[in-house]
Symmetry: C2
Subunit: 357 residues, 2 copies
């Protein structure tokens, strides 16, 4: 697939994406949130959760898979907990709302946990965890995903990629951000390789018969499964995250006709948490000590051929600053999908209007 | 090193270990707790945190590295948080105390987090997380450790093995228990290989010059570093756990003479959390749905050569039940170290009294 590669301004593409979501049925405020979520991911180099989703989300808003008129409900609340039903709202909208309430509660009690059932794709997890940093808190965000990953020793898709995100304040404006799928590689990395005709490393997934593969079509088109990261440890963490997101939220719980319990496996659930640092130690001392830990590790000896030791989230901060300055490069058919969507919606706009290179 | 291998009864060796700790200066109740912690680990096959520690702990109790007269203090408390100073009490004693208070708080508010500073080795992390199961809660337990692990791309010991444990109730009496170091393998696995003259897999660690090694002496005797599990993901999780345990507890925070902040890197900190399931969903439905998830994964297709797909913690439950029935086999000089300790303390007792094979 040959394709024109273009560079766009990050603020302008955010506005264009928001316009697309409004034309797809969403209100302006929520459209801004969803567009911001995708642009923030793209700026951090998390392309699998970036502008590639503009066309997908627009389709889902129009076909009802994302509910543009969702009524997000608080199902239950206790001193330090919240349980929401997102009513299939755009994931970023439900996620932001739930995290905001989680931070309020954590401010009052020191720590809070919220679950969200009936969610839709919430983009990159750090979007929510980072909100905690502004409040001098540690932020945690988890989501389930559709089943794509094999258990350790197996080859069927019986588990989501179930990412883990934890963000921790440091001295400067660059918090430490761990944000990673519990699969070896995000599904869309195989998808990008497939659309570009590239092969993939042989530890990303198995074909549908359980054999190793370097052909992304085995994963993307033929039902092969992704592998967990780090063998049984990544598998185990993925299993736990599925419980915290789907079962604890009620996403995976349903009564059948007889009132007995069946497991729903197709819903998406979220789990957010926040910990108020000031309840434990002085916040400035905490921030400075985290920075000292960062320095110690960054200054430690590097293996042959390694140029730099990175702190969790550091590469994404570097890319974020570069994107602010240099704009965003659209690869992988992303530009043509956005253009197709603009045309489908009959919008009087174009990527040319946001292009800078 | 040639050695007699003996089998002992788990209840009787627990009593003998407790007697050793009492003779080492600890009161009876705390000695029982510490002995129980080690026997529970050994029964689960976590030998690195099992009876191999009896002699070590006894030495530490006598030389003051473990404080047998510790005064565990609550430093601060808020609605859903607790911060303790363990005063270098035996880790299991401080850990049990902190987790007990965490569960009380979580019962009242839905979720609670506790930190512990000035800790000592707390044994296996599931010992604390499992306490949450009895209260229909999800339990989390983390600890820092002395620096043994290299960062991703590096080869210096600049991070602990920093394990993660999360326990989740299921329908039967076998909760799901994820409990793993963020290094590829626990340090004592290299130690055991060293004492037995075995080589180790080449992804466990690097020698002190940063080269791959299969010689455990490079790790145990020559300052080489362990490697994180799953590359940058296990390293990143280890980094986050170090923040939650050492920095959030104040273990790694100290003011120098000028009042400025320096990082202490030699202290051990813990972090415990509990989440009350009933605040989110019906507990029976939760337990049943977790069991359905277990069934779905266990019944999925296995890779060639794989006999069974295991749920996190399942192998340990199998070993636990086997140990109850068949007793505990003491390998690796463990028996001779215990015998030496009994003699040093001048106790009128012997492993022969607890032996069953």
């Amino acid at each position: 697939m040959s394709e024109k590669i273009i560079t766009v301004d990050s603020e302008k593409i955010q506005k264009l994406a928001s316009k697309i979501f409004v034309a797809s049925g969403l209100n302006k405020s929520d459209a801004d949130t969803v567009a911001d979520n995708l642009v923030q991911a793209e700026m951090r180099g998390i392309r699998s959760h970036g502008l590639v989703q503009v066309a997908n989300y627009s389709t889902f808003m129009r076909n009802g898979k994302i509910n543009v008129n969702a009524d997000i409900k608080l199902l239950s609340e206790s001193i330090s907990t919240l349980a929401f039903d997102a009513d299939f709202a755009p994931g970023a909208v439900a996620g932001k709302h739930a995290m905001e309430r989680t931070l309020e509660k954590a401010k009052a009690t020191g720590v809070a946990v919220a679950t969200v059932k009936n969610g839709t794709h919430f983009g990159f997890a750090a979007y929510y965890a980072l909100d905690a940093i502004k409040e001098n808190m540690i932020g945690l965000a988890f989501t389930s995903s559709s089943f794509l990953v094999a258990p350790f020793g197996g080859y069927e898709r019986v588990q989501g990629t179930n990412p883990i995100c934890i963000a921790v304040p440091a001295k400067n404006k660059r918090p430490v951000v761990f944000d990673a799928a519990t699969s070896n590689a995000a599904y869309n990395k195989s998808f990008f390789a497939y659309t570009e005709g590239r092969s993939i490393p042989d530890d990303w997934g198995l074909d549908s018969s359980g054999n190793k593969t370097t052909n992304p079509a085995d994963i993307v088109k033929k039902g092969g499964a992704l592998l967990p990261f780090g063998g049984y440890k990544g598998y185990g963490l993925g299993f736990i995250i599925s419980i915290l997101t789907t079962v604890l939220s009620g996403t995976a719980i349903a009564a059948d006709a007889d009132g007995s319990i069946i497991e729903k496996t197709n819903g998406i659930g979220f789990n957010f948490a926040a910990i108020d640092i000031s309840r434990f130690v002085d916040v400035d001392a905490f921030r400075k000590t985290v920075s000292l830990s960062i320095d110690r590790i960054k200054q430690s000896k590097k293996q042959n051929g390694v140029e730099e030791i990175y702190i969790p989230g550091e590469i994404e901060w570097n890319l974020y600053e570069k994107s602010k300055k240099d704009g965003l490069v659209l690869y992988n058919g992303v530009a043509s999908e956005i253009t197709r969507t603009i045309q489908e919606l009959g919008l009087d706009d174009s990527l040319e209007n946001v292009r800078i290179g």
